[in-house]
Symmetry: C2
């Protein structure tokens, strides 16, 4: 039997935010490969093998999934959110590039999903209403100087900025440094949103300003959005007008 | 009865890419308001009123939806993709800000969805695997100089760039000007993807380079992705490694 590999994202967490295409891919799988907490979001199915792993071993996980597919299994690699945004899809293609030549002929597909910044934005209104960018603050795989350069460029060009992976136990100081960098360019009153567990029943929202934003309010489940010059509060919502005028 | 307004996105087009939460919101609506082609994606339901409009009147459409909700209707505003990304959510909050004071007390919600760049990226691999930005090339609501400034900043800071609204009959020359601006900074071999009708059975993909990218290949249904310095082709896929090293 010919194997296959589908990279999926569960969305932000609630089953109602996972697409039917993703649910169908999961239902067809013989093997699920992923980080434990994301796998736990997927209902178990008799006869399906689960291969849970730690969060820091994406490339090993991708290679394992590709070997299973090459051996004829119907493999689903489980990410949170959208698999193409700071998640497993890029790791799978890295593993293909550096791996067995036969892996390039495998049936590999990516199913899109609802990524964290979209769920976070929906919780507060429409902060991504203008041009925006997404930056991961993790420096596991890139230099911090690259992060700072992108923050500066995004601020100068007046993008709304979505910050993924704003903080972890291993990196408690980066969000504070990011805010400091942004304060050089952006107004003190710029809206800043800390949206934790967006798209789940435990969601919490903290709407503040760049001057007052406290980096200690972010953890691994938080998505931080820093507004553009026109981003504003209206009643209990925050949004960015489509027009710059 | 108290009215409500939910802003939804149908996703890229296929029903399998619309979230169950969005489908449930549609099923509960008494009134659907939206641009005709997006409304046409939603199955009709007995007793539900449909208010179709032209694509260029977002603000009128938003005001109409808010009036209906204020009159006690259960209103769903229908966008394509994700409603918060170059779609109706921002227009609704603009209308709230400038409209009847009572509109600020309405029950308004936004349901996230799969936006076009995620569906387009999934069709080709994982081109959004690094930091990225999303820019609308439409200058209906912003100056072209703003677009150029953002393109230049995104290129200098080595973001992957997703271009929404790359072309329309009224704006045939902007994508060419955007490519010219990017060629000043980015390498000639930078991968450029034209993904038309992503997430639908009619999808087509053209993978080319910045040097050879022909702006005439884009239309209103096309999403254009311009790679970062490390974005590469591997077999039939295009992806951006997570690492910059």
């Amino acid at each position: 039997m010919t194997g296959s590999l589908v990279v999926i994202g569960t969305g932000p967490g609630r089953a109602e935010l996972m697409t039917p295409a993703t649910a169908a891919a999961i239902a067809r799988a013989t093997d699920l490969v992923g980080y434990g907490p994301y796998l736990a979001r997927v209902p178990s199915q008799p006869g399906q093998c689960r291969h849970a792993s730690d969060n820091r071993v994406e490339l090993d996980r991708a290679r394992h999934a590709l070997s299973l597919a090459a051996a004829g299994r119907q493999v689903v690699v489980v990410s949170g959110g959208d698999p193409g945004v700071f998640a497993m899809a890029a790791a799978v293609f890295e593993a293909v590039e550096d791996g067995e030549p036969a892996w390039q002929d495998l049936d590999i597909r990516v199913e899109p999903g609802v990524t964290a910044m979209l769920a976070a934005a929906a919780e507060v209104g429409a902060p991504l209403g203008g041009d925006f960018c997404a930056i991961s603050l993790s420096d596991n795989l890139k230099a911090w100087s690259t992060v700072e350069r992108r923050l500066a460029a995004a601020a100068e060009a007046d993008f709304v900025i979505a910050l993924y992976n704003p903080a972890s136990r291993a990196r408690p100081h980066q969000l504070g440094r990011a805010f400091e960098r942004l304060r050089v360019v952006k107004a003190a009153a710029t809206p800043v949103l800390f949206v934790r567990a967006a798209g789940t029943p435990e969601v919490t929202v903290l709407a503040t300003t760049l001057a007052e934003a406290d980096p200690a309010r972010a953890d691994m489940r938080t998505l931080v959005i820093v507004g553009a010059s026109r981003t504003r509060r209206i009643g209990r919502w925050v949004y960015t007008p489509r027009s710059e005028r």
